[in-house]
Amino acid sequence: MNQKSIFNFSTLVVVAIGIGAALYGFLGFFGFTVGPQTWVKPAIAFLTIFGALFGPIVGLLIGLIGHVITDLISGGIVWWGWAFGSALIGLFSGFVFMNKDFNVKAGSYAKKHIYQILIYGLIGCIVGIGEATLFDIFIMGEPVDKMAVQFWGAVLANIATVTVLGLPIVLAILRVNKKSSNLTIEK
């Protein structure tokens, strides 16, 4: 895990995808309803975190596998459009990882990276949910106007989750990892 290559499928990366997908898949069960057929899954925050920790490909696969697992375990049908949406959100959350001077484990980051996490998170939500919306319109044949309502509901809810849950957690980890040096015992 020293070189920051995104296609380097070391065993660690394979396991990170597996465990990340298990986490995202299991936590995907929990959600609040915020609008018509629209849920906020706090689990989305884990895509932000794993993306920042392991990069875009890991984020993408965790989103995809995790989402399909949630659907498979809860029974019923797999919502492929939304599963690819999760994958895209995961992909975008990983882009910040590609900065050479950004490293969660070492706690090295600059202010610009925080904006990047936020902006990529935002774009990820729009692209991911946009894809899911188009999928539902063109593949499933849902009405455009109804999907527009769902689109905005889901985008706003997910952006809120990324901002309120995902980003603070990543920031907290970064701060802690940065602080872990130069500690003094106080009397």
């Binding site: 499928f9 070391s10 065993t11 660690l12 394979v14 396991v15 990170a16 995808i17 597996g18 465990i19 990340g20 997908a21 298990a22 986490l23 898949g25 299991f26 936590l27 018509p36 057929q37 706090p42 925050a45 884990f46 975190i49 920790l53 696969l61 596998i65 995790g66 697992i69 498979l72 375990i73 809860s74 029974g75 019923g76 049908i77 797999v78 492929w80 593949i139 499933m140 044949g141 849902e142 009405p143 455009v144 106007d145 109804k146 309502v149 309120v164 849950l165 603070p168 957690i169 907290a172 980890i173």
Partner: protein, 275 residues
Amino acid sequence: MSKMGTLYAPGNSIFHRMDGSVKMLLFAAWTIATFLFLDLRVFVVMLLVGLGLLLSAKIPFRRIRVIFWVMIVFNVFNTAFILLITPTYGSELTGTSTPVLNIGYNTINLETLFYVLTLTTKYITLLPISLLFIFTTHPSQFASSLNRIGIPYKIAYAVNIAFRYIPDIQSEFRSITNSMQMRGIGFRKGDAPFIQRVKNVTSIAFPMLYSSLQRIEVVSNAMELRGFGKHRRRTWYHMEKYQGIDYLVGTLSILLIAGSIWMKVSVLKGFWYPL
């Protein structure tokens, strides 16, 4: 959910014996075929066939009852939203409008009702094969099957790891939330104001995350020490030789994809509206 982390129900039907990769292919073909159309006739035929197959797998009904209910509730709500938000959407597809019910700001028409019926059937058509796949496929077969249909084995194995550790994560989640509740941290409505509850939910994330990161390290070490990733290919303990039935169903699945594409292109191009 069973201890295995999936809904797998042991049995000895033809679907239980079928190879996982073939079932994946069938599942994919069925899904594609359903996705292509917006035609009630197609869905009714597929639904009947699907239900027949589901019955033959002899999955105990009490295990899938809830899922049917969830599906029905979903469709009721979906229908309600479509009718409320776009009460005349059906006209866009047919070009005609037959008013049925005035809802104040607009009028729901017959075309839309028929459209909603078609859409609901479309969703339900996906259900039998999906259930068949989930309930008759042992999770151990997922990874080898994915690899067999061309997914690189490292990605396929990640799926195996996910299924392996979901139950562990589940029980860990339970003990974490229990211990937090004992410290007065509430998650349910009424335990605390909304903002506080959001904060409380955030605080589950840390222990879950840290223990997962620790687990990633341990599991990755264990796998490395046992030679994972040594070669470009690997064999699978759970990969059986294809039997006659596998070839048959595989061929039928491919025919289903080809057939449905042909039908879509040349016969049933759009929304079917007989009235």
